[in-house]
Structure formats: structure tokens, C-alpha cells
Symmetry: C2
Subunit: 337 residues, 2 copies
DNA sequence: ATAGGTTGTCGAAGCGCTTCGATACCGAAT
DNA sequence: ATTCGGTATCGAAGCGCTTCGACAACCTAT
């Protein structure tokens, strides 16, 4: 293992000079710099992470806390995680993967040990138990998701309220009067995951404004649960001509069931999904959808955190504006006959 | 930030004593130990990761390199990653998330900087460019997946050869004579991802042994591609009564298409999937399947790596035996009429 | 009673790096 | 000629921890 001292000796300079060449924190003459850089290359030098962390009290590591559950939004979570890792690297940071399992303890451990310079939390609940700790330790952090109380916190999320509104608007504009919403599993609403409630809020208030009827039903996802949910919806509101789905694992079952019942999409029923673009495009019908911008969220989170770590950050809430992409699953409402 | 020295002072002992209490590397009297532990608790002491890494030249971090692609086996990858993180924690290790993006450079960087004590590589290709480096730097590592040449490497994977054989066996035993295999996307075979070829190998040799006809077709996944692939298969082998799918994103489209064509599962066609249990159970038909044991693979990988790091490891290849779970998508072959 | 072995504790020497003066040199301004 | 502000470099002091050798204090077998 090559050390700074060896590089210094090889280049005929002092250790501190090499360090300054590396960090650029003091001016170094061009000739010296080149000599040092050459030695670094020739010896294949890599600075030792531990020593660096100790001396500078910065680890250049960002901790990313992902939910332990693997039963929901898996592709989204994965995409965010990868975006975070990739983006962090471009800023010179590595990413430490923490699972939700340890819960608040992980926050304590990471903050206490100086393992990471800051952390990004995913799957934040409305009243998350990690938040008090985060505030108390003033650990630089960014949340992906929106808790109930955001004071003193930096958050990034899709504007789910606007997302809901946008979906209703799109359908209403096409003349749909009776709209059904197939939501996440009941457990999600019970856990108060925020995004689900905000979406619902947007859906409801916009439909009220536009004077369309809205029926919301949570759904476990999967074929059987979807069958039951859909039957109930059509029973209660036979005139339903627009459906909004916010549940990845309900999308394909829904389409299969509609097909099976002889309801054509979009001639008889229009479907709007809130899901990653990939899901919308891979489905058996190209779905009109509002994308969940996983990459963008990951990138934003990292950039905000890095800004904080460099002292130019601020606490604020970034809501990404939703974008609705029209594909072939929505069209004008069938004329009422 | 509380330091070791402060704990020592508070407990009225020397710093080294505290260190030995923490590490257990030398015997400490019960009374002293308790006094120290109390001080640690009272002061809320957390050892500094950087200092520890520097002094002991062990970071207690495992690097996990995940593929950058988010278009394949996402749930499996995620599950493995989470299993790795969770299991690593039980052994006192944290996990550093590296994306495939940096490629071999990441190996160099991590090995050189002492950032991680060892690494786990996912999505290993038959002739992976990271392998030479791994061998050269004798970086402790474990691969998830099987490269062409495993000398000097430790690998963990599902025994895909046996998996293929098992699927054929199950169908053959039920009297199916004409079996179709819907495989991964052509790109996967071109990339020589190993597992696909090994599965195919198992499928082919077992079907030869059992005297059943086998037709293998790669498939992009998604509804449209599946429609084309299925049509071709049924055109070429109208008598096909058993289908084996190894492609998560083809499963649901396949079932939808069969339903649409009036082919009942399992009365007319039996379907066996090679996929995570969750996919098999959430599908519109409970699928008979061979599970991809993501958790187990992650756990194995960590345990092997930890063993290596503690000096009791050995280079070997662990192939996890496949298990076929019979659900409701397979049954006796329809009588030939 | 003495040598020999345990057991429990301490002090000090680093691990490889960053960073803060201090120093030496240069040209420009007085 | 002297002073001043810059620039380029060095030396040394730590960062917080681990670990090794030393050393008391004690127990046991002779």
C-alpha cells in the first residue's frame, strides 16, 4: 500500500505539498504539481479513506436509508437508490446503504461514528420516528417524501397533490363524469405514508372544482384483489368511464380484467396510471400516465445534501411538478346513451 | 463528539483499557468493564469510524456492486441488496453501494483506498472485465453469479442448470411431450450472462434424456413482444402443452394472451416460471415455479465474504439447489386427441 | 519462601492524512 | 536599499483509535 509520504519522497517534496496538490487548497507551482502528479501515477497511489476521514473529519460518504419492505414500489426504490449512488459519485461521495431495519438507531450510529457526512432517508412516513433524532443531532439530511411537519428539514418529493389534480383534469377534459380511483393497499393509507393521502387530496379537491364524481377504493394489488375491487366499483358506479390507478401491482390485473369483461380501453374506459414510465410503457396497453420521476428525485436529494455539506444549503421543500404523458389508454368519454 | 479518551477519563482508566473493553481482545476485570460500560452509556460514546479504520486497517465495510441497468430482475436485485445489507449488519459490517457504472475502476478505487474490506459483485458476466483486477489485487470478494473461469474466486448462485432440469422434469412427469421455453431478452444471451445459458443447458440435456421436445425462444418481455413470440411458438409447435418462462416481464403478458386465446391454464397449457416467489404468487394464476432465492443468495455471499475476512474462508463455488413449488398453473398434459 | 505463570492495566508508538503557522523567496513599491 | 504583500513550500502537531510491550499484582506449585 502506497502512502502519501512515499509519494512525497518519490517526488522530492514534503508530504504536505502532496496533500495540497491533491486538495488544491493552497497554490502549488505548475512544475511541482506535475512532478507530484507523475509520482502519484507511477506509484499507483490511492489516498487512504480512513486516514482522510480522521484528519479531515469528513468521510465523503452519504448514507442512504431504504425501506426494508420489498413489497412496494420496488422498481422506484431501486431506481432512486441507483440515481443517488450515481449522482453522489459525480460529487465525490460514496453511498452507504442502510436498511430501515435499524430504524432510528441507524441514524444515531451513523451520526455518532462519523461514518457518513450526511444522510438521505427514503419512504418517510407522515410522523416518522427518525425525524426527532435528525433534528436533535443536526445531522445534515434530506428526505425523499414529505412528513407532516417539515420545519427544519429538507424534503424532495413529487407533488402528489398536483399529480392527483392533473389526473382528474385530464379525464374531465375528455368528458368523463364518473371517475374511479384505484389506490394503494389499505395498509399504505393506515401507515400514513403521506404521498397517498396527498394524491387523494389533489384528486378530491380538483374533482370537486370540476364537478365530476370521484370514487376512491384502496386495493391490495394482484389479480384477485383487483377483481373484487373492480366489481365493487362497477357495481356502485356503473357509469364509470375513467379510472385512475395508483398501484403498480394493480395495473396489469386491471387491464386484464377489463379486457376479459369486454370493456375496451380507451373506447369504453379510459385509464390513467400514476407509476414509473417504464411500467406505463410495458403494460399491455400504452398507458397515459403521470410518471414517478425516481431518477430526478434521487438526483435532487443528493444535490441538496451536497449543498448542505458544503455550507450553501438551505432547509426547504422541493416538490417536483408532475407531468402527464398521454398515451393510448385515454380518450373521450363514451357518449351517454 | 465524545472520544475514547474522555470515556477513559470519566471511568478513571486508561484509553487502552477502554479500547480493550470494546474489542474484547484482552481480558478485563468485571468491575472495570462495568465501570467503562457505564461511562460509555452515560456519555453516549460512539467510536469514530475513521480513526478505527486508520488504526486497525479494517473499515468494517463491505462494498456491493450492483448493475446499473434498471431494466432487468429489479426486484431480485433489490432483494439481494437488502439481504446483503441486513445480513452484513448482523456481522458488524456496513454496506457501500457501488453502481456498475465505474466498472473496474471502482474495484481499484475501493481496494486502493481501503474504503471497504471486501466486495460483493452482482450481475457477473461470463467473461467479466472486473475479474482480472479482483484476482490481481487479491481483494477479498464474492461473486453473485458464475463467470466462465472461477479459479481463485468465490461464487454464489442458484444452480440454474439444475433449475432447468427440474422444470423439464416436472412437466415431463405430467406427460407433457412438447415444451416451449420463453427465455430472457436476446440481449441477455448476447451478453453471456451465464445464468441464462446454464438454464438452457439444463433444460436441453434433461429434455433429451427424458425424450421430450423442447423449443427455446428468447423474448423481450412486455405484451407485444410476448404476443409475437407466443404466436411463433404455437405456429411452429401447435402441440405445445407445457411452457417454461424465465423472464419476469413476460409472465403476466403470457397469461393474459393465453386467456385471450381461450387456452386454459393448466387444463390446456401448463406453465412453469423461474422467478421470485412473489411474482409467482401475485400473478393472475398461482404459478408453479422455481424460486430465485434472492435473500439466500445475499446471505450466502455475505457469510462467505465475512469468513474470508476473518481468515477462515476458502475459494469455492456454492450452487444453491433449486426448489420447485407446485401451484395451480401445472397439471397433466391434455390427452392427445 | 521462591520461581513461574496468570491476569489486569497502563503508556507510548504509531496508522496516513490534513492543516496551521512559519519560512524563504520573489518582485513591486517606497 | 528597505519594506511590503504574494506565492510556494516545509515541518510539526494532531485527528481518535489500536496494539504491543512492560509491569505490577496475584495465584499456584514446589
Amino acid at each position: 500500500m502506497v502512502t502519501l509520504a512515499e509519494v512525497a519522497q518519490h517526488a522530492g517534496v514534503s508530504a504536505s505539498t502532496v496533500s495540497y496538490v491533491l486538495s488544491g487548497k493552497r497554490s502549488i507551482s505548475a512544475t511541482t504539481r506535475q512532478r507530484v502528479e507523475r509520482s502519484i501515477r507511477e506509484l499507483g497511489y490511492h489516498p487512504n479513506a480512513g486516514a482522510r476521514a480522521l484528519a479531515s473529519s469528513k468521510s465523503n460518504i452519504i448514507a442512504l436509508m431504504v425501506p426494508l419492505r420489498t413489497d412496494m414500489y420496488v422498481p422506484v426504490m431501486m431506481e432512486i437508490a441507483i440515481a443517488v449512488a450515481t449522482c453522489a459519485r459525480t460529487h465525490g461521495y460514496d453511498v452507504l446503504l442502510l436498511t430501515g431495519e435499524e430504524g432510528p438507531d441507524a441514524v444515531r450510529r451513523v451520526a455518532g461514528s462519523g461514518l457518513a457526512d450526511g444522510m438521505i432517508l427514503m419512504d418517510v412516513e407522515l410522523d416518522d420516528e427518525r425525524l426527532p433524532l435528525l433534528r436533535a443531532t443536526d445531522q445534515p439530511s434530506v428526505l425523499i417524501g414529505l412528513p407532516a411537519d417539515t420545519t427544519g428539514l429538507t424534503c424532495v418529493d413529487l407533488d402528489f397533490r398536483a399529480t392527483g389534480a392533473l389526473c382528474v383534469e385530464h379525464l374531465a377534459k375528455q368528458g368523463h363524469q364518473d371517475i374511479a380511483v384505484i389506490g394503494e393497499a389499505p395498509a399504505v393509507y393506515e401507515r400514513h405514508t403521506g404521498f397517498a393521502e396527498r394524491t387523494l387530496d389533489g384528486l378530491r379537491s380538483r374533482s370537486r372544482e370540476l364537478g365530476v364524481r370521484l370514487l376512491h377504493r384502496p386495493c391490495e394489488g394482484g389479480y384477485d384483489a383487483m377483481a373484487v375491487t373492480l366489481a365493487r366499483i362497477l357495481d356502485e358506479r356503473p357509469g364509470t368511464s375513467g379510472i385512475i390507478v395508483q398501484n403498480e401491482s394493480a395495473v396489469e390485473p386491471l387491464l386484464a380484467l377489463l379486457r376479459q369483461q369486454g370493456r375496451a380501453v380507451p373506447e369504453d374506459v379510459s385509464v390513467v396510471a400514476i407509476c414509473p414510465d417504464q411500467v406505463a410503457m410495458q403494460a399491455s396497453v400504452r398507458l397515459t400516465s403521470v410518471a414517478i420521476p425516481a431518477q430526478e428525485m434521487g438526483r435532487h436529494a443528493v444535490e441538496h445534501l451536497v449543498a448542505k455539506l458544503e455550507g450553501r444549503g438551505s432547509d426547504d421543500v422541493v416538490l417536483i411538478a408532475p407531468e402527464l404523458t398521454v398515451r393510448t389508454s385515454t380518450g373521450p368519454a363514451p357518449s351517454r346513451s
